[in-house]
Symmetry: C2
Subunit: 194 residues, 2 copies
Amino acid sequence: MSKGAATKTAILDEAVSLASKVGFGALTIGQLAEQTQMSKSGLFAHFKSKEALQLETLERGRERFTDIVVRPTLVAPRGIQRVRALLENWLVWETEALEGGCVFVTASVEFDDQPGEMRDALVRNQTDWSEFIATVAGTAVSEGDFRPDVDPEQFAFAMLGLIYAFHHTARLLHDPQALGHVRGAFEQLIRASS
Amino acid sequence: MSKGAATKTAILDEAVSLASKVGFGALTIGQLAEQTQMSKSGLFAHFKSKEALQLETLERGRERFTDIVVRPTLVAPRGIQRVRALLENWLVWETEALEGGCVFVTASVEFDDQPGEMRDALVRNQTDWSEFIATVAGTAVSEGDFRPDVDPEQFAFAMLGLIYAFHHTARLLHDPQALGHVRGAFEQLIRASS
DNA sequence: GACTAAAAAGCACGACCGTGCCAATCTTGA
DNA sequence: TCAAGATTGGCACGGTCGTGCTTTTTAGTC
């Protein structure tokens, strides 16, 4: 990896961390330069615009998410075990990966009313992700762990909701019961689907 | 109501609408002045700081939320009917009240990592709200509509999650199935609690 | 080690930010 | 009706934003 590429990756890692805390709108080139000990113009040269920086930051977040959630989930045995692994890996992402919490939640809220490339990229991400959850749930159906009448998309919707509830409850309220609640609700969901 | 108070209310209504679209951080005094056809300084004089503007905007949002969700829910008959009314009123708030979507979701994501009065106010709001949901669910238990072993807090967590899932799915993805999914998941939750 | 291309910094710009001060205008109560 | 006070506007400030242009420094190749 050339020097430039290495620097860029380091910048983007810092950008993901910063965006998770303050959001993509408040992710400022000046602050990012300060954090990475670079000059504003030196940093800016790696991206040709702020929007490009935001897009590449989002993409870097996606890579990290894949490493922490998607890949480990896919090595779990097909069926309900993989569904459980999905929850646990997702909770690792929610609690340990980024100081400021999931960047996709942040970005979704910021850009859901703002047409542009960021919004488009987010729509692709979230659509893919919903489909992934539904696929994992569908596997549990075809393996016989879930009842045949379980709608994988409906399951994905409910599971998404549990993680969102955890995200908000844990981050804003610092509720120590959040983990217990999300696991409890998940077990209820599993029971209703088995 | 004095002239000043009327103007202030009009400003705050516009502020709630603007914040729902762009967020509280990007809620700028200049833009708000433009939207309300006032001078920046004339508008600013009503609030002594931007933080005060944000706080009063949040409070105005809370008033509207009370009018649209809380009060109509409390006139429904105790028990499961009130639980159902809660969902429907909440969905009205989510879909019709504000062009940019629920301001509390926006604010929560923006301030969950940012200590200050905004965060404190949000924590109070969300705590109260969770308790309200739990109380309504608890009423369904004491009325015999829900099983006695249903934990109202756990129910509130799951219901919060459903609304969050709806919020994100409907706003970002414009998924026309979002309404169906949230109602379907809600019925499943009701069934599991009855 | 010299040459070249890449990377980083220096510097400046116009725009907009939040905020203060002071003058003008409008409301209100006696 | 008129004075007092509340409300609004004009203007300016220091700061930060994103973004170009030019120069200096660094890294990679022969």
